[in-house]
Amino acid sequence: MRATLRKYRKIRTESGHILWNNPVLTQGLALPFAIAATTSLKNGVVLSAAMLGALVCSALVYRRFGARFEVWMHPILYSSVNLLVLLGFMRIISGWPAVIDSLGIYLPMVASNTLIMHMASGGLKAEGSALVQSLRIWAGFSFAVCFLSALRELLGAGTLWGIPMGVGIPSLSPMLYPFGGFILVGFVAAGLKGLDRLTLRILSRRGKLKREGGVAGE
């Protein structure tokens, strides 16, 4: 059982940015996207793709030019690079005007947000590849945004990727408003925390019982 607990702790550390140390749900970074912009799965996927470009380019620029500029100039450097990335990205998705309109002010905000500024202010560890670290942060962001957007679309509109999911799903249209987003993100964050604690408690208790049983048996 100790081995299982150790294995769980290892998985917990390795998948840190996706679940237990998620940049959005645990650290509270890039919350406006998760709360206000995740009203449909399409929005979530587009945001996630835009953030991939922004984070990877920021990480590459950070490693290549970070040391050459004073700290106060870093945000300008990243936002300028991301501005170009986003310009290209908007050209690519220009065939999806409905999604662009639905994202509204949140799409341009990908160029300058707390995830980027977190990296700019030393969020990347000195050891390890900047690219891998930025991809981990992106994976966590994508998981949170796509999961929330799918859940909100399903609960709020009864559809998934615009396809009706049939009867039986209760219509909770308030889920599509920012207040619904706040409350849902709060519950999902609490759920993740609770699940982690419960798993750790169960594994620890089982290990303890087994040890006690072993001692009694002897």
Partner: protein, 197 residues
Amino acid sequence: MNNLTSFFSVLVTAAIVENVVFARALGTSKLMDRTRETQDVLSTGGALTLMSALATLCNHQVSRIEAVAGMRAHYRALVYLACISVVYMAVCLMLRKFWPGILRRVGGLLSGVAFSGALLGLQIIALNEYSTLFGRLAYAIGGTLGLVVALLMIMFARERLSFSRVPSSFRGLPILLIYIGILSLAIYGLIGHPLAA
């Protein structure tokens, strides 16, 4: 008198009815984390108001250029971001030249404020919804005031929640988000209709 009335009307709309935190979730990330004491909230608010006013002046001039005015809204937003970068650079260069000590002390705060979603979001909405400099300035300043009020409310709520008996899974960020959600629901009731993104 008429101008003054419309200025205050836009200011109140931006500060209360269309509060950036409760109605658009802007400024909920790092900005919220940065504000654990009243002094932090007020200094953040001061820096944000200054940057917001300067960025509005700059963006207003830029938005009058024909090529920019003819752009689609989402491309125009990127131009506004470039303007914010220019304003931030100008402020930092001025501080470095005349008051280097202040730049060292408030450099982090300035960059956090200038490149926050709240400032960019406010600029985009102000410049898209209002056509006069007066209206845009009123919206930008009103929005900032609304943000400061919201941050103060969140700060006091955080204090009170830390003394409350909350289930362990909900402690910290989750309960704070649910609290903001309930406040946001009240604001939604006040507006009575969905906001444009």
